[in-house]
Structures are given as C-alpha cells and as structure tokens.
Amino acid sequence: MNAIYAFGLLILLAFLGSRFIVRRRSLSPLHYIFLSGLVYIFLGMYLGKVGLNILSPQVLNELTPLLSLGLGWIGFLFGFQFEGKYLRRFSKKYIGLSFLKSSFVFFLVYVVIFFLVRKLYFVQSPFLLYGIVLAFGLLATVNSPTLLSAASFALSSKGDYYYLARFLTSVSGFWGILGLALLFSFWHFPFFDSRIILKGSVLFLISTIVPIIFGYLFYLSTKKRTSEQDILVYLLGFIFFVSGAAFYFNLSPLYVSMVMGITYSNLTKIHERLYPLLLSVEKPLYIVFLILIGAIWEFKFDINIAILILAFLCSRALGYVLPMRTFRFLLGFPFPLPHLFGFSFLSFGGIGIAFAVSLKLAYAMELTEIFLSVAMISIIVSDLLSPWFLKVSLLRLDSKEHE
C-alpha cells in the first residue's frame, strides 16, 4: 500500500514540476526547488527510514551501485567540461580569480568551523577533527551554474558579470574536489603514522593515474564509429567501474570520475555526439541520486547543528563577498568586482550534495553523520535563498553595466 502511495506522490510531484517549470519562468524559491531537484531529496526522506520505509536500509544497500553511479556521473560531467580548447578561451585572470576565491572561502570557513567544532563537540582524535573541518572548508568552495542558467531569461542582455559568474561557478568546484581527494587519500591512515605523507601521496597518485588510464581506455573504446547505445554502455560501465573502484578503496568517487572526465574530454572528438546523450541520461540519474540521498540521510537537528549551519553559511557568504575588491586589485581585473558580485556564488547545486554525501558514504561515523546533516541543511537553505541573492547582485550589476 505504501508503495502505491509513494508512486502516487511521485506522479503528483512530476505533475507539479511540469506546472512550475515548463509553463512558468520564474526565479522564486518554489520554482527553484523543482528546478534544482531539491524536492526529490524531500521525497527521498519521505520514502526512506524516517518516512514510509519503502527505501529501507536493505533496499538502499541493494541500490548502493546507483549511488556510486550518481556520484561518478556528476564527477564525470564536471570533469568533461574541462576541455583544454574551451578553457583556453578564458583569460588566466579568470582561473586565478577562481583559485583565490576558493582559497579565501576555504580558509575563512575552516577557521570558523574549527573553532566551533572544538567548542561544541568532544572530538577525541585530532585526526578526525581536522578531517571534518577540512571537509567543511572544501564544501564551502563548491558552486553550481544551474541557478545562473535558470536566471539567464531575466537578463535583457548578458554582460561581463554574467559570463564571469558562469565561468567561476562552473569551474570553482575543481579546487574543492581536488582537496576532497587529498583528504580521502590521507584519511586512510592514522594521524600518528610516521609515513603518512608518503602513503597518502601514493594513494592520491593512484586515485589520479587509474582514472587517467580508464579515461584513455574509454576513449579507445569509442574512437571508432560507435552507436549511441554502445557509447551509453561504455559510459555507464566505465563510470560504474571507476567510481566503484573509488568506493572499494575509500577514495573520492567524485575526484576519480572527474579525472576520467577530464582525460576523456581532452582526447575525444565526439563532444557534439556525446552531449545530447549525457543530457538525456543526466536528469533521470540525478533525480534517482537525489531520492537515494534523501533516503540515506538520517536527519539530525539540534542547537549545535543549528549553530554550525549558521556559522557555515555566514562565513561562506562573507568569504565570497568581502575579498572581491582585493582580488580585483591583486589580479588587475579589467572591470570592477564589487562586493555584491560575491552573492552570485551562494548556490551549491548537485555537486555540493554529491560532495557532502560522498564523505558519509566512505566514512560512516557519528561525525560524518553530523557533517552530512549540517551540509545538507546548509545546501538546502542556501539554494533556496540564492535566487533572491542573485536578484540583488548579478541581475542588478548587469543592468547597471548596460545603463
């Protein structure tokens, strides 16, 4: 009976989604909740252990390969956009700004959360404490271009700010994912291990080289004229394999798939054939992924978590807003970078969710459970508020530019 009920709910959501998304173009939070897929996280929570228990722990265990595929898919797609030919079109200052922006946010969030976690929780092992705080810092650097794409209709003509923001939100996640890969590689070993640097570096090297090899194999497999169905099998197979290998070795599935995506993107010449295929599979896979994440998320909320969320969101927002003018000065940017511009980077999107959940999946313990709750609630709040912030920042800046 529950299954029929849940199925009805899914149809209702699809119906509401079709009303909200297809027929209207709006930047309201309600519209964005459907557009970004956040609604499916709530559906997943309802179907999971805390709700109808259709996606029971046993069912979720059987569906783990789909979670792994979802993480791998997001990583691969993210990496696929790093095509040298495309990146070379942008000034080095853009990449510099992406790095500086991410570094500043990372350090600010790291300091704030480090202080708070030490105060609020009794963490016996410094090894765990540093790891979790690093994860918070890295998560803060992740942005998504989805909101900007959705907002493009509201711009009469797109200016420098829009394109800069699109570039930065598209590529900045790279630094966070790279940092996450390092964290995963070193977290394998006890902090007091004398050869931790060597062992961690070797593992990081492995998590880089293996996906390069498989990216090359994927390229070799699709080099000759291959049908769309065959490409789909290779794509799914290699992503399953590489992200599954990451799971198997407790490495970051996002990172290894991203490296495979970068490798493949820079070797293949069939981008035009591949994009429609990627897009046709992306959405269903993403929705399934979000539903599963909602189901595995054991929702936790107390005063400590509330404080962490507030601190995380505020320090992240400040980290994006405060240093903009300094960055312009440091990089010699050709146009002003007002504080307001920083508000364009608040949306986390799917990559943020994938980032948050990958840590919990690899290291299931109380602290990562807290991390997941703080991260998920922060992502949801931030993504709900980000359309409004976008209105007061980018849209205003671009309209001023055209005046």
Partner: protein, 430 residues
C-alpha cells in the same frame, strides 16, 4: 579488446592481497557491476562475431565472472544485485507487453491458441511417459512410488512447457526482428506464461495429497496462486491505466517515470507475492493498445535497453548454480533433449492443426527453448512444498534452465534469421 584485457587484469589484481590493507571488500558491488557491464558487453560483441546472439555472450560472461568460476562477483554481490535485476526484468516485460498489438494478436489468435495447447499438452504427456519408462534408470525417481513418479513428472512437464519471454524479447530487440514469426513466437511465449503458472498451481494443489495423504486436496496453494495471478493482472491494469494517464496529462520525465514504474512494481510484487513479469506485461500491453502515445513510451524504454539487457542477463548467468549443473548434468541434458523433441512435436502438431505454413510447422519450435525466471520461481515453490526432496528437484531444474538459457537464444536467433525477419524493424522505420 585492450579495454577488456586491462580491466580484466585490474580485477585480477583486486583479488590479490596487495590491495587488502586499503580495500573495503563489502563495498565491492559497484566495481563488480561496472566490470560485468563492460566485460559482458565486450564478450557479447565477440560472441556475436560467431553469429551467436549477444545475450548468450552476456550470460556466458556472467557465468565466467560469477561465484563458481572466476569469482569476480561473489554470491553476496549477486544477491545484492537482485533488485537491479528485478528492475531490468520489469523493463523487459514492459517492452514485451508493448510489442503485442491487439490487431496482430487477433489475426493470429487461432495459431497462438493451438500452439499453446498442443505444446503444453505434448510436453506434459511426454514427461509423464518419460517418468514411467525411466524411473528404473534414474536414482531421482527410483525412491518414488509410481503415483509419485507420475506426479513429479507432471510438475516437471509443466515447468518444461514454460518459455522465457525475457530472452525472447531480448533477442527480438537485439536482432531488430519484425514480422509474422516474430509476433507468433513472442505472443506464444508471453501467453503461455499465464497458462503455465495457472496449470502449475492446479497440479501442485492436486498432487500434494499424493505425497502427503493425510493433508488431502490443498485448495490453499491453488487459491493462493490464483490470487497472485489475478492480482497481478489487476495490478497490471492499474499500472497500465496510470501510465496512460501520465502520458496524456504530464508527458515529462519519461525515463524517471518508467524507472519508478519498474521499481514500485518490483516492490509491490516483492512484498505481496505478485508477479512483476505479469504486471508489466499487462501494463505494457494496455499502453501500446489503448494510448496514442504507446509507441513513444516503448521507444523511451528501448533507448536504454542495451545496458538493461546486459545487467539482466549477466546477473542471470552469474546466478546460475553451476554446482547444481555439475551434480545433475546428465539427467538435465537428457531432459533438455527430450524437452526439445517434445517442443518440436507439439509445435508441429499445433501448427498443422491450424494449417500454418511449413516454416511455422518445422522451425518455430526453436523459438520456445529458452527458460528463466518463471520456471525457476515455480521450482522454488515445489521445493517449499516438498522439503523432503532436499534440493534435488531444484538442482535438476536449475541445471535444465542453465542449459536451455544458453542454447535457447541461439536457436531463436537462428529461427529469425531463417525466416528472414532479422532487421525488418529498421526497414520499417525508414
């Protein structure tokens, strides 16, 4: 080919102790699934060069990587993948139902009925005869009384009559076949599934007193199976109706909707004992015949059919119990040959009765050899009801299914090639 070799070496390396300090063997299902997807696909390609169906390659790859040969997939992982396997089966059944157009069924109704009646009765009678004549020679029968031998033979005969609609639809999709023979083979395979399940329920209820005289006629099993079949058909109508409404009013997110249908059908079937195959067959049939968007729906499923087939058949291969095959291969082989012969006789008689052409009379038997889930499910039911057989019956049936599942698709492909219906679907779309 290089990809195949490299991932094969990689998987072999994973089995060595070098990686043990870093590895999490309990998280190995995803990597195993990725491996089997690529391996089975490439293996299927190699097999198709030998003019054999790709799904035979998928099954063989599954056997090779499964828990009895290379052990890349262990029994626990195979069991973890059952849900994905169930999802794949639901998708295949939706396609199978969607391939059956009511007009074409009507035009072939006489032939379908005749083939089902003659095939089923010939096989059941043939196995009764086999039991009677062969009971002295096989240890399995020697411990039974004559009445018990006949009862067991009746159950084996009913199981033997079943054909796998999943394999049939997979071969039809793979070879892009279309035409009279394709329709006939598919329709008979699908409809016969209903008949076999019902007959089986009836015989199981009737025969239980032969083994347990104190129990009397067990109406319970019969009514339970009748409820399952009836419930599945009703659920199929509900699901089909739901899909039609969705296609009419919402239309969006087709892939996610189809996946949800498959998942919830599997869940409901799993929890309440219904048949996902029947539910999806009925639903697919309704959508195809009672909605103007039926073709769009089936096309949306077919777009992703290749990975679905690979996963389904590779897991089927990995699930085949080779120990069972090893222990009873001789008897199983005899049963397979005998079943094939009876299929030929039954099909010939059925086709002659309705004056079908020569190709149907002499060749279409080859389309009804493959066996899979339904036969296995029914065999498990037998084991539950007759625990004194201690797995002997199940091992025998598994061994028979293993052989039939390998040779069945090959024979069906040969049949479709012979009647020149391979690739006709592509021609139609031009």
């Amino acid at each position: 080919m290089i990809a195949l070799v490299v991932i094969f070496i990689f998987m072999l390396l994973l089995k060595t102790s070098v990686f043990f300090p870093f590895a999490n063997p309990e998280k190995g299902t995803s990597i195993a699934l990725g491996f089997i997807l690529i391996f089975a696909f490439l293996f299927g390609k190699q097999v198709s060069r030998l003019k054999l169906p790709q799904i035979t390659g998928f099954i063989l790859a599954g056997i090779l990587c499964g828990p009895y040969v290379l052990k890349f997939l262990n029994a626990g992982q195979v069991s973890d993948l059952q849900l994905l396997d169930g999802l794949a089966l639901s998708l295949i059944a939706l396609t199978a139902g969607g391939e059956m157009e009511i007009d074409r069924l009507k035009s072939q109704l006489k032939s379908i009925t005749s083939l089902i009646v003659f095939q089923t009765s010939t096989i059941i009678l043939g196995f009764l005869l086999f039991g009677l004549l062969g009971r002295e020679f096989f240890p399995f029968f020697s411990s039974l009384t004559i009445l018990q031998t006949l009862a067991t033979s009746l159950l084996i005969g009913t199981l033997a009559a079943a054909t796998s609609p999943a394999s049939t639809i997979a071969i039809i999709t793979e070879t892009r076949s279309k035409g009279k023979y394709t329709d006939l083979v598919l329709s008979v395979a699908v409809v016969k599934d209903f008949v076999v399940i019902l007959l089986f329920a009836l015989f199981l209820s009737l025969l239980k007193p032969v083994f347990f005289p104190e129990q009397g006629f067990d109406i319970g099993i019969f009514s339970q199976i009748l409820r399952e079949v009836g419930g599945s058909v009703v659920l199929g109508i509900v699901v089909g109706g739901g899909i039609i409404l969705y296609l009419k009013y919402i239309k969006r997110e087709m892939t996610i909707f189809i996946l949800s249908v498959a998942f919830f059908t599997y869940q409901i079937s799993h929890n309440y004992g219904y048949h996902p195959l029947l539910i999806c067959l009925v639903a697919g049939f309704l959508v195809e015949n009672f909605s103007p968007h039926g073709d769009r729906f089936i096309q949306a499923i077919e777009k992703t059919s290749l990975p679905v087939y690979i996963v389904f058949f590779a897991i089927s291969g990995a699930s085949l119990n080779l120990d069972a095959l090893r222990s009873s291969w001789l008897l199983a082989l005899i049963f397979v040959i005998w079943r094939g012969l009876l299929k030929f006789i039954g099909t010939y008689a059925g086709a002659s009765f309705v004056k079908e052409d020569r190709a149907v009379r002499t060749s279409s038997w080859a389309g009804f050899i493959s066996q899979a889930g339904v036969a296995l499910g029914l065999a498990i039911l037998v084991e539950k009801n007759f625990p004194q057989w201690k797995g002997v019956f199940l091992s025998l049936v598994i061994a028979i299914i293993a052989i039939n599942q390998i040779i069945g698709p090959i024979l069906l492909q040969k049949l479709l090639t012979k009647v020149q219906e391979v690739g006709k679907k592509d021609l139609d779309s031009y």
